[in-house]
Symmetry: C2
Subunit: 750 residues, 2 copies
């Protein structure tokens, strides 16, 4: 464990947030007592923010509750079981509807704020451009919508564009500045995407301050402002966070979730699926995302079902509200479904995959460097100013380059479309004479967006990385597609293009679909996800035959990206912020065993049976903030006592003679010097303690932590304790290859 002291880092996790985070947690619904007035169960463990829950313990508690309820054969207990289940479904369904509605209104709000940057509606200030001009016959000119220069009756073209651009930039700065202000003052945890934190929380990290209603409100509002400001960010990740906040808020109305960290997490997993479902209009994508990226359904089989229900209900709610009146669920409808593809196209698609992998890695590296710079420079002091400046720069550049002026979602939607004379031209993309200009502009836009995204993702505003990544990839993909198309039309007789239809008026290469591949590849490079990306993009395009090219793009990008840098951007942020999250990866232990990683016996803080007194134990619990302590007799392992149980025992038994009586843990009495002078602490021992031999390969140990959500493993040899390994140790083992581990952790912020 090269230099890094595992239990210490553990302790710091435990202690640090109790001061920095607890202040936020203002949302407490009533006291801890049961609704029926029963006192809270003694065995329910209290976790501080920043600690990790003990899954085995939590699940044991839940089983116990279940068992108690089911063993009482009364109608009341039967009703209580039904009510428990009904409450779960109530929260799941309400979260689904809630996030569907929230997603729809967010879209409406963003559209209105975004349009406000260009003009206003005469019929009413609160109409956006589309609804302002709705109800017109085709061909009729929309007079209700006025650009600002029309509104202020400016005639000179120079003054017009000056006015338009300055209002555009000013409003952008105003929106993003208010978002940053809100986040900075009211809910600092509402910044960023939220997915790294959700991953950690679902894995057992306790971080309730991250899910308060206050955070929910600020994140949703700030997100709308930030997206409308035109900053290079998306709403996808933050929507997952919003959905989780919603589920948490709803769950607080019921005591059954308050007392069970495990139940709470199962609800959050379902909420996360609903969030993705709304963000992409892809209900199955939501389920698979939770499965692959959040690794949540390892929890229990019915979590997948709940996630699916929540995600379907969310998608249906969104479709029912139909914010844009298109009755389409997906943002970027792709129309090229019917087209077939040819084998030679694999060459540009593989190229796109490689580009996606390289640029994805570059984006991650750039983002990390900027985050470190922000942290260690004077920028740290002025987060709002930083947001305002970046937003002003973004808006100014955006106003100059045509492809960046529209909102990213609109740009992507247009790039995904094929050129079709019947449906008009998007930003001049379909003008065949301007091909080189367009390719140049697309590549410039991609480069600008890459840098801006790397900067934006991590600023003090809610910001998702999905949409900007898609936009970068779509620009590059379209450019490659247009190049391929121009080569094909220039040399239609080349052997490579023989599979194309001989009739030159029939399109052989579909640049719009290249955009989709480019976006897939870029997403693959940045997030390193596989199945969920393909499913999401499959639900966008709808055409089964196009799944294979998307797979090729995602897979080659992932391979190239993995070769250049190990992790996706979410895992990089988890490592930088040092959350106790064990990624579901295969760990290559290079032949090392647990003995190389464990804290050896000598360095452990232990309770010595027959030696330690209650006073000693009290001192121990005061001095160390560990989750628990191994109990030994000499070197023989007796068991493992959790801090919580010791504390509650101490609370009951602290009397005058604490410094005399020795502790006993169900040892045969004759082994202890005098029977009167000892006190039985057997009740403090944990039952579910895993022992392994220290010769076990590290990969097996890691697998155990991953699969069983363990908190610690003890290593014994013939009954003697050799050492111990905690979740924190495993986390640092897995993050050891990443150079900036913990660089942004709250610990370092003090």
């Amino acid at each position: 464990m090269s230099g890094h002291h595992p239990q210490e880092s553990w302790e710091s996790w435990n202690s640090r947030d109790s001061t920095t985070i607890r202040e936020e947690e203002t949302f407490e619904l009533g006291e801890d007592g049961d609704l029926q007035g029963n006192p809270p169960k003694k065995s329910a463990m209290k976790y501080k923010d920043g600690s990790s829950i003990d899954w085995l313990h939590e699940e044991a508690l839940e089983r116990e509750r279940d068992y108690v309820k089911k063993s009482q054969k009364s109608i009341r207990s039967l009703l209580s079981i039904w009510a428990d289940s009904a409450r779960v479904w109530l929260v799941v369904v309400a979260t689904g509807i809630g996030i569907g509605v929230a997603g729809a209104w967010l879209d409406v709000l963003v559209k209105w704020l975004g349009d406000l940057r260009e003009g206003r509606c005469q019929a009413g200030f609160f109409y956006n451009q589309v609804s302002c001009c709705s109800g017109l016959d085709p061909g009729e000119f929309c007079t209700d919508w006025q650009s600002w220069s029309e509104y202020f009756s400016v005639r000179s073209i120079f003054a017009q564009s000056l006015l338009q651009s300055s209002i555009y930039v000013t409003l952008a700065v105003l929106f993003s500045g208010s978002a940053a202000f809100l986040v900075n003052i009211y809910a600092p945890y509402a910044f960023h995407t939220g997915i790294p934190e959700i991953k950690a929380i679902l894995g057992g990290y306790v971080f309730d301050a991250f899910l308060t209603p206050w955070t929910l409100l600020i994140k949703a509002l700030g997100l709308a402002l930030a997206v409308a400001s035109g900053l290079s960010l998306g709403k996808e990740g933050p929507l997952v966070h919003v959905a989780c906040c919603m589920a948490y808020m709803l769950s607080r109305f019921f005591n059954q979730f308050k007392h069970s960290e495990a139940q709470k997490r199962k609800l959050l997993a379902a909420a996360a699926a609903a969030g993705v479902s709304v963000a992409f209009g892809s209900p199955l994508g939501g389920v698979i995302f939770c499965l692959e990226e959040l690794d949540t359904f390892a929890l229990e089989s019915d979590v997948m079902w709940r996630g699916f229900v929540a995600s379907a209900i969310a998608a249906v709610s969104l479709q029912y509200i139909d914010p844009f009146g298109t009755s389409k669920l997906v943002l970027f409808q792709v129309t090229s479904g019917g087209d077939t593809w040819r084998a030679f196209e694999l060459i540009p698609w593989l190229t796109l995959g490689v580009i996606g992998g390289v640029l994805g890695s570059l984006l991650i590296k750039l983002n990390v460097e900027i985050a470190l710079y922000r942290k260690n420079s004077v920028l740290n002091q002025y987060p709002i100013l930083e947001v305002a400046t970046v937003s002003a720069i973004t808006a100014a550049i955006a106003y100059l380059v045509v492809f960046t002026r529209v909102q990213s979602s609109e740009l992507v939607a247009n790039l995904f479309q094929e050129c079709d004379p019947a449906r008009g031209d998007y930003h001049g993309l379909c003008n065949p004479t301007a091909m080189w200009e367009n390719v140049f502009l697309l590549l410039i836009s991609a480069a600008i967006k890459l840098v801006l995204t790397a900067w934006t993702f991590g600023m003090m505003v809610p910001a998702g990385i999905f949409l900007p990544t898609i936009a970068i990839g779509a620009c590059i993909g379209r450019a490659v597609g247009m190049l391929t198309q121009s080569i094909q039309t220039a040399y239609p007789k080349a052997w490579l293009f023989l599979s194309c239809p001989p009739d030159p008026t029939i399109r052989c290469v579909s640049p719009g679909f290249y955009s989709v591949i480019g976006a897939s590849a870029m997403l693959g490079g940045v997030t390193r996800m596989t199945v969920s990306l393909v499913v999401i993009l499959f639900e966008l395009t709808g055409a089964l035959s196009h799944v294979l090219p998307i797979m090729v793009g995602v897979m080659s990008a992932k391979w190239v990206g993995d070769a250049l840098g190990e992790d996706g951007i979410y895992n990089v942020w988890i490592a930088m912020r040092q959350y106790p999250f064990i990624p579901p990866v295969d760990y290559n232990d290079r032949g090392r065993t647990a003995a190389d990683a464990m804290r050896p016996f000598g360095t452990l803080v232990k309770i010595q049976e027959g030696h330690s007194t209650l006073k000693d134990i009290e001192n121990l619990t005061n001095k160390y903030d560990f989750h628990g302590f191994p109990v030994v007799r000499g070197r023989d392992l007796i068991g493992y006592a959790t801090r919580n149980k010791l504390l509650s025992f101490l609370g009951l038994h602290l009397s005058a003679d604490t410094s005399i009586k020795k502790c006993r843990f169900s040892s045969p009495k004759q082994q202890l010097p005098s029977v009167e002078n000892n006190i039985d602490l057997t009740a403090c021992l944990e039952n579910s303690i895993l022992h392994l031999r220290k010769e076990v390969p590290q990969a097996v140990v890691v697998r155990m932590f991953q699969k069983m959500n363990l908190h610690q493993i003890l290593f014994t040899h013939r009954g003697q304790l050799d050492g111990m390994l905690t979740k924190a140790d495993v986390v640092s083992l897995l993050a050891a290859h990443f150079p900036h581990t913990g660089a942004l952790s709250a610990e370092n912020e003090r």
Copy 2:
């Protein structure tokens, strides 16, 4: 462990199949040596058919191989790593294409054989009715296709129908008889659906005879014959088996899969996904099915990706071949996508859910009873005759009732359609005056199909349960839909129906969609799956708004079914055949601990360090067929030695003095009487051995076996061995509630 002796049942698994199954395994590609001529690794474990693999051991081996390859920094080792990966993908892609092609040709074959029962094509014997009559103008009458009475120029109507029906029944008997003959003589493992076995194999059961090319051939051929014979069975489950056989066959060409049971299983998981994908034309459904029902992706994260790739490629291949020229992937296209539904329809849908749950349970119970009867009666002796008789009865009844005469898939496709005057009437279903007759006929058909399916599923032919279940559910659903519709049209002003459009010509209730719900509910009742069913049916209907009703149907059926009987039909068969499969369910231990389930110390077969001699160990390995033996010193646990390692050690060290030298397992030497007279067997100990306290709740132990694919857990207290629990014990623990556990196991067949 009420009466059931775990280690004994274990032994019988090990021993029984070595005689009954080994004979089948004729497919061996070359010798066990490496392609490069290296001798096989000493540490590779050999498993007999009928045993369970040791996942931890297999994975450790794989890691070791990986490590060795990666630590050699030569180009050769790099190429070898690439080649390994390339071979995996080669097999995955080839399996995908293979099963896509096989599925398409199966469809063609079934269609041709099925049509042959009614007539023949003049233009060529090998055309089916559709291709025989293709190329005609609309309205033109097809003269090429002749019914048998036309072919034999029979004029009298009575003689016509006699001839037609006797040819119909005769061919049905002939087809099903040949299928049963083929299965019975050449590949007994090709009978039934195959999914229970695949589940067990993916969980670690060793059953190579189940996956031979011979089984592949007979299963595919027999399946076509059985489906064409009109027996009440489907092709879905068997296609999964066929896909797995294909992957196994392809994998045998490469040594890397021969030596690794874990790698082989990862391939099989991908193949199973491809099989489902082809069976339903639902690539995502395939992935989710593997996830939910086969519980395979717990293995490793990249297995899901492989499964997805295989399943997409299979679906694309199927679509590319396009066996029916419809360029539609799914069998039962549903056209009612655009319709909305009303709240009052929840009442009939919930009713359908309840009916599905009740009938599903009934079907399972009936099927179990028939299987037991078949086993214990004289039927056991005449499997082919049984098939022929049931097939004759099925065909005779089918000829009488209009809805059962067509093939199930055609019936289902028609029941799923809404009545539309433009598209003609299906079997008179849309005749509003014959409503009551139709409802009656539908219910009769459902009842007939239910009994026939319960009988057919388990006979000596390849048989899936999905399609017949869908057909039963679709009949009932359609009947309920027609009843609802008639009530609504009779009382359009009732408050319940106020949400319907006032115009009576606009359809308010869509009976076709009720069919879909009925099918979902019935499937839910029989299989107890949730997400994968909904995804498969969602991919069939395509309409997001209809996902919610399908969910309601599946969920209520599952609840009712679970209340009536615990398990889905696959798990019931697994229990009856006593495969070592641990279902991924929550185990309710009712407060019991591992101490109640484990084999206590006294009953264990142990190796006593310092007492046992090599001779003793030889006797032990000859006498007991266990996977391994705990090594103790007194009661102190030293370790666990696998039979395999002991055998290979014995092979090297068996010399004259075996009965004198005592065994030593890395004990300090002074503890043993004389240093010269002992021999060091430390190398035989396993590293990855889990110890727990016996006070651990059973639920935790079960969870460990489920998640970690363990083979055994040892229970210790202060270094002393208290007992042991093996996978076999856990399997019988989980199957204890089922009354007929092991009733059909191979053991009982002798």
